[in-house]
Amino acid sequence: MTALPVLILGARSDMGLAIAHAFAAAGHPIQLAARGSAGLETARTDLALRHGVEVTLHDFDVLDRDGFDGFLGGLPNLPEVAVSVVGYMGEQAENEQDLAQAALVMRTNYEGPAGILALLANRFEARGSGTLVGVSSVAGDRGRATNYVYGSAKAGFIAFLSGLRNRLAKKGVHVVTVLPGFVNTAMTEGLDLPEKLTAEPSEVGAAVLKAVQKGRNVIYVRRIWWLVMAIIRNIPEAVFKKLKL
């Protein structure tokens, strides 16, 4: 029997492609899903050539809720693993002033990814197997002045994944929550990030593959982030509100 594919939602991103490479290197066929997926032809060729696996392209818009069923129906087969890497940071200053912009951030980071994973979860549950991976963010661990709109959506996604895991644990379906810290991607290009806290996309890919293979529940890509966030979470609110973070 040929292995079932791994579906990457948000495949245009550096992290999405890196995760695709990690799974393809382990011999999994890949389904790349993104808006305007025809533009991923070079990435498709590259994945297929390097790893000798089948790679297919699929149009997917995380904001188009009505299109989700059609998208899933259009996949050649139900994937073994589905990974959502969809995300959009926006500008905090803009998110504070422009509610439409804030809603876009919330929908892209929470409503959309949770919705598509919910539909996949039901299909996986009916089949009795599969792994769902949600890439959220350490920003969801505690709201901070500098990015709480984005962080709140990521927090919602973390809670959603946690509940989904709880619900599906006895149904043969596993849910992995991935919390990358800083990652060196197009989204963070030009930002001055601390080297020790910043992962390469390939590290995210390797970490997600390992987490799926080992059935992990919640992972920080770089372990140091567990410590950093444990400290940040435990600062008393009375102190926290006075900090610049």
Partner: protein, 441 residues
């Protein structure tokens, strides 16, 4: 930001930009300021650092097609040689020519026209390049080859990125039966013996000598000459023959911090070299070695450039023509031993014939070593330059970080022709590195 080559010297202030597609690259190339493309930063000096803008080409890292009949791979310039090996060695293909690190990009390998241990048999990297897609000063990509704009093609091989930005290329891989190398190690008590061994084994595909440049007098040039060829299936034992193209994966160590300056001195290096020679001379002469250990021993120590500390190091690599090689190498080794400044890594290699427009190799012997950056280092290197020039030698720009412009002109009459081509094609104002400015290319 501040940027350096692998040798961490010199440090250059530059604007580093990482285009993600051809349109972005075009906009940067056609801008007002000169640019230089950078691959994975493995050239030692300042050849991939711009004094204005440096183009990080690592987003151009896609493989585009592979012909399983001919072994021709089409790929973008930012693909690493190691990626090519990872993808195609399991299918029975290996790079035709590889330098001592697999962490070079294809674009970088072309720009430096790198050589391997098989130069005397197969030539430099350029021999396996079918064509290059080169972005010119107008932002247009042209496919150049031995048939189309041969002059520009010839000068792009070894042209240090100064003829345009290499975007894509087609290279030919070689078929191999296994992932293993038959290695033979021959001790040579002095330079003459080492050179005789090279001449005797000229038919063996891979050869290189590790040379102890601390030893003097009768032991001057004491070496271990290492020969190799791709093992056949029949050479493997039953266990290895089950997966002949998989030699297993090794973990890599990483040097976690900069070594302090006192860690490397003439005594520690002498002790290391003594030990290395004794162990090498004592070990069985024939061994089956996996491809990674054979070709890339240093890659197993990631960030090994940190061994030389924050001040970095300088490489010296010259090639001397056959008729003067013996006298020239003797003089070079005497000067190095005299200064007591030898390095861990001194390498001697026999080059075969090569006719190229601006690339480094020519028929003869090449000597490569590195020196930690210390006050006496630069004067010593100037002295070594002078010795090499006297003997008709020339220098490897991928390793250079400090040569004087007049030395380059004295050593290599092709430099003027290269500069003239750059002028004539309007390349000079668009493509410049710290090195090209230093050497006024």
């Amino acid at each position: 930001m501040k940027l350096t080559g692998w040798g961490r010297f010199p440090v250059v202030e530059t604007q580093l930009r990482a285009p993600r597609d051809v349109a972005a690259l075009q906009a940067m190339v056609t801008g007002d300021e000169p640019v230089i493309a950078r691959g994975n930063g493995r050239s030692y000096g300042d050849s991939a650092v711009g004094t204005h803008t440096t183009l990080d080409m690592r987003h151009f890292d896609h493989m585009l097609s592979f012909d399983a009949e001919t072994g021709v791979l089409v790929a973008e310039a930012g693909v690493l040689l190691g990626d090519v090996i990872d993808a195609f060695l399991p299918r029975g293909w290996f790079p035709m020519v590889t330098p001592g690190t697999k962490f070079v990009t294809l674009g970088g390998a072309i720009a430096a026209d790198v050589h391997g241990k098989n130069h005397h048999v197969d030539g430099s990297f350029g021999t396996c390049v079918d064509w290059i897609d080169l972005m010119g000063p107008d932002g247009q990509i042209r496919r150049i080859s031995r048939d189309d704009d041969a002059d520009l093609f010839r000068h792009t091989l070894g042209g240090m990125g100064l003829t345009g930005v290499i975007v894509r290329t087609a290279i030919r891989l070689r078929p191999v039966e296994t992932a293993w190398i038959n290695q033979t190690t021959l001790p040579a008590p002095d330079l003459g013996t080492a050179m005789d061994l090279f001449e005797q084994h000229a038919h063996v595909p891979y050869s290189v000598a590790w040379i102890d440049c601390m030893s003097r007098g009768a032991h001057l040039g004491r070496s271990l000459v290492m020969l190799g060829d791709h093992a056949k299936r029949a050479d493997l034992d039953a266990k290895k023959a089950r997966t002949p193209l998989d030699a297993g994966h090794k973990g890599a160590l990483s040097v976690p911090f900069d070594f302090p300056g006192f860690a490397l001195n003439r005594w520690s290096v002498r002790a290391f070299n003594e030990l290395y020679y004794r162990v090498g001379a004592w070990k069985p002469t024939k061994a089956l070695v996996d491809w990674d250990t054979y070709f890339y021993p240093l890659d197993a120590v990631l960030k090994w450039n940190r061994i030389y500390g924050r001040r970095g190091f300088a490489q010296f690599q010259c090639v001397l023509p056959l008729d003067t090689a013996r006298a020239g190498l003797t003089e070079l080794l005497e000067a190095i031993a005299e200064a007591g400044a030898g390095s861990f890594l001194a390498v001697l290699k026999r080059f075969g014939p090569q006719d190229s427009a601006f690339s480094f190799p020519m028929e003869g012997y090449t000597l490569a070593l590195d020196f930690p950056m210390k006050p006496h280092t630069l004067p010593l290197l100037d002295l070594l330059d002078a010795i090499a020039v006297t003997h008709g030698g020339r220098f490897y720009l991928a390793k250079d970080s400090r040569m004087r412009p007049d030395t380059l002109r004295e050593a290599d009459s092709r430099a003027d022709e290269f500069e003239a081509l750059r002028e004539a094609r309007g390349l000079k104002d668009h493509f410049a590195s710290a090195q090209s400015e230093r050497l006024s290319l």
